[in-house]
């Protein structure tokens, strides 16, 4: 049995061998983003190098694609239509999983640095990162719902595609900065780096950036989930106290 396993391991090593010829060594300016009360977005510098055993291979240059994805959630996308003179939501399509944030940054035009087949396999581009299976049978144009989702989220910088945003020098060093907007959801942000040559992914690497509320934000958030009744009573008490204080202060001015 162990011999069989060793053989299998050796075989798998042999198979993946060529992929290991060039691999990523990564650095992040920070692997933890703290959401404080004054949080106003954050820039994350992602940099690294391509490690190789041999000389730089001949042929097309190496290209780098960096993606950062926030936690995924199921969504409903609704479309309005005119019924009886007013605009109402008529059709709805459920999206199984859509990241709350998704940024793609590349070292060249996406269509040139990545083949469609590879995009499909690794789910790199924005439309591929959204998983939507099966719209209701009465809706023939399900894609337009996904397009709308991308359009709406791109407008608030939640979905970004920035081509030529990754700088690659001498086919070895690369760097890019990803801008996380202020309206950020908590969670693990999966960061993936793909090395491609001639549109084929030759190596990939992934890590996570931990986005978390801290301090007062953390405390309030947890209280609101863990002790909702207490939180509600506290909210009302603060409201009553503020109302009374304002009234008292004004009375002092009048007296």
């Amino acid at each position: 049995m162990p011999r069989f396993l060793t053989a299998l391991l050796a075989l798998s090593l042999l198979c993946t061998g060529p992929l290991w010829a060039e691999e990523v060594v990564l650095g992040l300016s920070k692997d933890k983003v703290s959401i404080t009360t004054s949080f106003d977005g954050s820039d994350i510098l992602i940099f690294g190098a391509v490690k190789r055993e041999k000389a730089i291979p001949e042929g097309p240059p190496i290209e780098v694609i960096v993606t950062v994805a926030g936690p995924s959630m199921p969504l409903t996308v609704r479309r309005k239509a005119k019924r009886l003179g007013i605009w109402v939501n008529t059709d709805a399509v459920e999206v199984d999983r859509a990241p709350s944030f998704y940024a793609v940054q590349t070292s060249g035009p996406l269509r040139e640095v990545l083949k469609d087949v590879e995009d499909l396999r690794h789910k790199i581009s924005v439309p591929r990162a959204i998983r939507s299976v099966g719209a209701p049978s009465n809706i023939s144009d399900a894609e337009s719902f996904t397009e709308a989702l991308i359009r709406i989220r791109s407008r608030s910088d939640l979905y970004q595609l920035r081509e030529d945003a990754v700088t690659v020098s001498e086919q070895t060093l690369f760097r890019t900065a990803v801008r996380l907007p202020a309206a950020l959801t908590e969670g693990d942000y999966v960061t993936r780096i793909f090395l491609t040559r001639d549109g084929q992914v030759i190596s990939s690497y992934d890590t996570t950036i931990d986005v978390q509320k801290v301090g007062l934000e953390r405390w309030l958030f947890e209280l609101s989930r863990g002790q909702p009744l207490l939180y509600g009573i506290m909210s009302i008490a603060i409201a009553i106290a503020a109302g009374w204080a304002a009234s008292a202060v004004f009375r002092m001015f009048r007296a």
Binding site: L75, N89, L149, A183, L229, A246
Partner: protein, 304 residues
Amino acid sequence: MQIYLPIAEVSVNAFLLLGLGGIVGILSGMFGVGGGFLMTPLLFMIGIPPAVAVATEANQIVASSFSGVLAHLKRKTVDLRMGTVLLIGGLVGAALGVVVFNYLKAQGQVDLLVKLCYVVFLGVIGGLMFIESLNAIRKTKSGKPPARKKHNWIHGLPFKMRFRVSGLYISVIPPLLVGVAVGILAAIMGVGGGFIMVPAMIYLLGMPTKVVVGTSLFQIIFVTGFTTLLHATTNFTVDIVLAVLLLVGGVIGAQIGTRIGVKMKAEQLRILLALMVLAVCGKLALDLLLMPSELYSVGAAAGH
């Protein structure tokens, strides 16, 4: 100065919120409305998720109404007895309203229904009030004393009670029903219901305008407090940081508003409120009638 809201999970300008709170607070103190019907759409506009906006707004109304009611209590313009009767009806109505709301949510289209409710109620109430106040102003100009206390069917009902501050001796049934109706609408529309309560008290119950404002604020405190608790425990959508920013502006505004309100004539006060109600109604109606610039909207998945 940007501030990140822990529950809404968005970052907004703190001064913008203080300003909005202040303006709505002034209106609240002047007219005895909580201001929710103005603030909630404004919060949508600056990008607060609707569920959070509705719930947090209820909490903020507690603060501004409390501040306003204290000012009115000092002036003895609160009919506590009438307020309590309305409140009993209001709490029953709010509980019913939550049931209705959940039923509609299961049927889909709850957004549309809320908007239609707004347009219809704001339109009818605003229109009636506007016409009535114009007539009242015309009458005072021509020197005729305003006709008050017409006896109608309301005075024929049983269970009569004396409301000394309002100078009324009427059955408790109409105020209870008004309370229930307002409570239901308040829960569905996510507002305190002052903009329905104030006209109902003036025109249906025949209460004097000066007492109406304080009494309305009095019962709004409890109804919105109840709503806040419901939202906080079931939907977890009360954002306390947002509420504090809004209410700091709001309570100060309410104090200023109450003082402005006292200096103004009742008819002027009513005509201004009518105009404001009509303006909000017009804006919402346009949203429904004109083609939106974005036909699609993204929401949480059904059943989550």
